[in-house]
């Protein structure tokens, strides 16, 4: 008969295999991941992939139609649209990455503290969080960028601030459900400090729904950055971002629709990928989420 | 036991399977049983043995891709499996009714109890709202819910567990069905409330002459309230008998094993519990022959290829699916 340790290890292996199977068996999750990986590859390879420098202007070649030398034409400054789109991938991915990272780190810790410690700490954090969530995300980002000036950094900060409260709220509510569980009491009774319990038990159990929210927030963040750049308040030219490329193309939309259309499609591709991943994660983790929260030490 | 009673519901060789055209997994195999007026038929078995699913499929309310593949379900001259959805729907609640296990989740939380009963009444009878409401109050009274005039407008969360179950029963008998199927009606309730609910069901049975099908895994309940019993295992009926016969002279190894798992008051202290060895079967991968063979203490070489069929044993009322039924001895 196997020892209980052996049995536990075998169980864990079986569970991991099960989880992996659930991921790979989910078509939209796989599609989303593939698209995202493709975009990451494009972003990383941008300097080599793009046929021209994205900021190289040419007064002679303005507003060219699609051709062999310029597959998507040129904009009003003679810059190659395709190259700008390729480089724009970097900005979008950067925004997505930072927003997810910042909102995850800050939101998890603050939400975890609020939900786990309760009392007036919870109430205080909750009030502030509710107020921040009262503003529509895009608006909050807009207001912050309006005061801090337009740049990539301020966009990232603004969007992160705008979308972190959601993560905090989810983390907090999960922490609230975990707090009364017997195993927390058991952990305390063997002398675990609150901090350790928070990091070792509460947060790992709460990660699945939090990751789903963070992924979906990343999707909103990219749309927000695009919107801000479109309005001229986000990332400024000549740095190419899909949002300001759409803005560039607006003036010539009737003659060279390709500029705005293609950049919009790029945005949609990345947002769709993130949404597919977020939805897929939510489905794939759902029964597991419930089981995981039941599984303890 | 009434021997001249009419058979109300007659299920014959019913088979049910799940899945699509490519991969069908049989869930219920060749199940035959019947219920007579004024009697209580108990359906016993483990979870997943198919006891609930048989009736869900018979009534046409099984989950989406679960379909009847063979057999007939006869009620008052009609074969339910051959009716179209509308005809079947007309019979649900009026001819045959079902009460489900968990009364809290079985009641719609955003509507009052009265509204839900009225909904059921008006789905079948041409009543005005006022008439239906009056009838709803009558029904609540019948199931002994105090102060029905006020309670009829209350919401499910305002009722206690036992009262919710009564309210469900009120809904189920609203249209005076001939057969009432109670699926684990007491599992979610306290012991004292259990007794009350079963008393109520027996009383209603006496008053209306309806047949009661009691789906349960609680053998004590069966002993107290059932007239006849059908034992399910892995989607088939393995034994069917009058309750006395079943308890005194079980004729299937599974039934015997079930009885052995129940601790007895008269056994010596520190007697070990005797579970049934092995795991409950995976319906998708049933072995050839008798499904209980892998766990049977009486297993013989040809059990793995034998055709599973109910045969008469000591009398025609006592059927067993075990070919070696004469060798099945109850523990003395």
């Amino acid at each position: 008969m196997t020892t209980s340790f052996e049995q536990q290890r075998l169980d864990r292996q079986a569970r991991r295999k099960e989880t992996l199977r659930r991921f790979t068996g989910h078509p939209s999750l796989m599609i989303g991941t593939v698209i995202l990986l493709l975009l990451v590859a494009v972003a990383l390879a941008a300097p080599w992939l793009a046929p021209y420098s994205p900021t190289r202007t040419s007064l002679v070649n303005t507003l060219q139609d699609a051709s062999w030398t310029h597959p998507l034409g040129t904009d009003q400054f003679g810059r190659d649209v395709l190259s700008r789109l390729i480089h724009g991938t970097r900005v979008s991915l950067l925004v997505a990455f930072w927003v997810v990272t910042l909102s995850l780190v800050i939101g998890t810790i603050i939400g975890g503290i609020a939900g786990f410690l309760g009392g007036w700490i919870d109430r205080g954090i909750n009030v502030v969080n509710d107020i921040l969530m009262a503003f529509p995300g895009f608006l909050l980002a807009l207001a912050i960028v309006a005061t801090q000036g337009s740049s990539l950094e301020s966009v990232i900060i603004a969007v992160s601030i705008a979308y972190t409260p959601r993560v905090t709220a989810v983390m907090r509510s999960v922490a609230l459900t975990i707090r009364p569980r017997p195993f927390i009491e058991a952990s305390r009774s063997i002398g675990m400090t609150s901090t350790r319990i928070l990091f070792r038990h509460v947060i790992p159990n709460a990660l699945p729904p939090v990751i789903v929210v963070a992924t979906l927030s990343a999707a909103s963040a990219i749309l927000a950055e695009a919107g801000l750049s479109f309005l001229g308040l986000g990332v400024r030219p000549p740095i190419p971002t899909w949002g300001n490329i759409i803005a560039d193309g607006q003036a010539s939309i009737t003659t060279n629709p390709l500029i705005s259309i293609s950049s919009g499609l790029c945005i949609a591709a990345m947002v769709i990928a993130l949404n597919l991943i977020g939805d897929g994660l939510r489905d794939a983790l759902d029964p597991q989420m419930r089981r995981q929260t039941a599984k303890i030490l | 036991m009434s021997n001249a009673s009419k058979i109300l519901l007659d299920i014959r060789h019913l088979s049910v399977a799940v899945g699509d055209v490519q991969s069908k997994t049989p869930l219920i195999r060749d199940v035959s049983l019947h219920v007579k007026a004024r009697e209580t038929l108990a359906i016993v078995g483990e979870s997943g043995s198919g006891k609930t699913l048989s009736f869900l499929a018979a009534l046409g309310i099984a989950p989406n891709n679960v379909k009847v593949t063979a057999g007939e379900v006869l009620f008052e001259g009609d074969d339910l499996t051959k009716l179209n959805p509308n005809e079947l729907r007309a019979r649900r609640g009026t001819a045959i009714s079902m009460v489900f296990q968990d009364p809290l989740s079985a009641l719609n939380p955003v509507f009052s109890i009265g509204t839900q009963i009225i909904e059921v009444l008006r789905a079948h009878l041409p009543m005005t709202h006022a008439q239906a409401r009056a009838r709803a109050i009558e029904l609540l009274e019948r199931v002994h819910i105090p102060d029905p005039h006020r309670r009829v407008d209350d919401y499910p969360h305002q009722f206690s567990g036992g009262m919710r179950q009564r309210a469900l029963i009120a809904m189920a008998i609203a249209l005076e069905p001939k057969v009432l199927i109670a699926d684990e009606p007491t599992t979610a309730l306290d012991v004292t409330v259990q007794a009350q609910v079963l008393e109520l069901l027996s009383q209603l049975r006496e008053e209306t002459g309806m047949a009661l099908v009691l789906i349960t895994h609680d053998l004590g309940l069966v002993a107290r309230h059932a007239d006849r019993v059908a034992v399910f295992y892995a989607g088939s009926v393995v034994e069917q008998a009058g309750v006395q016969d079943l308890f005194h002279e079980p004729r299937h190894p599974y039934t015997v094993s079930l009885f052995r798992t129940i601790p007895r008051l008269d056994s010596p202290a520190n007697t070990a519990l005797t579970p049934i060895v092995g795991q409950p079967p995976n319906l998708a991968q049933l072995p050839e022959g008798c499904p209980f063979a892998p766990r049977c203490y009486l297993v013989k070489p040809d059990c793995g290829s034998a055709q599973v069929k109910l045969v008469d044993t000591t009398n025609k009322e006592h059927l067993s699916a075990c070919h070696y039924w004469p060798e099945v001895h109850p523990e003395s």
Partner: protein, 313 residues
Amino acid sequence: MFVHVGRTLLRLIVTGVGIVSVAFFLMRAIPGDPAAYMLGDYATKESISALRAKLGLDQPVWRQYTLFLGNAVTGNLGTSVVTGQPALQEVMASIPSSAILAISGLLIAILIGLPLGIVCAVRQGTWIDVGVMLGALAGISFPVFWMGLAAILIFSYWIPIFPALGSSNAKDILTQIHHLILPALVLGISIAAYIARLTRSAMLEVLSQDYIRVARAMGVSERRIIFKLALRNAMVPILAVIGVTFAWSFGNAILIEAVFSRPGLGSMLLKAILARDYQLVQAGVLILAFMVVLINASLDLTYTLIDPRLKAS
């Protein structure tokens, strides 16, 4: 019930104060001197210090805060540097146009999204379900301003049936509606995508519940089950989504108004930001946030009407 109303009001007040405070600190968070920022790069030292005195920026922060709060309560939100008019007045004047756009957008969204979501839930897994959900995915993934541009391209240039301008000064209602249609449609479709997705998942959740199974077992007709018994249960999460998307569409109003050159709160805000008319920006953000909070609070109260379990708490 009254306790609930009282509690909601209290939350409203607290959130209101919070919003005002956030707006206050937003202005003070400008790196450097707000007055210099507002007057631009070519301002003279004298004009800057004059503005500082006028805005009370030379006072200690806590004094500024209480002054600001007091002013906000009485409706004094400063003056627009550009037009010289009271900021609050400017903001309120710009609201009707945005409100018309937002409300028509929302109506279109509900009319399209809600039934589609229900159909998808009832016909789960069929081609209709897959098709509509793919469309909805696109609807939430394409930037709304891009959809506006595409709409203009298609319906104002290629097939000229709608004007590209989102509003008109004409006196008659029909022309105004004609100009409203395209922006409202674009807004409506983008919101409808969210509503369809959420209605579908809420209905699926409800339809899998035991009490629906019981209703079926009792012979209640499928139509009754879907439209009365199930829908009422799904309404709470659906309303919540509608509230959230309504608030979110206020954020998008800026983008739509920019694309369609339509006057309103959004374009006023944008112009103020670009002109560094900060008092106006502050006032605009404040009022906008207030409206969102008010909508959410009233939605909160309607939940109790739908879900009797909430009345008890």
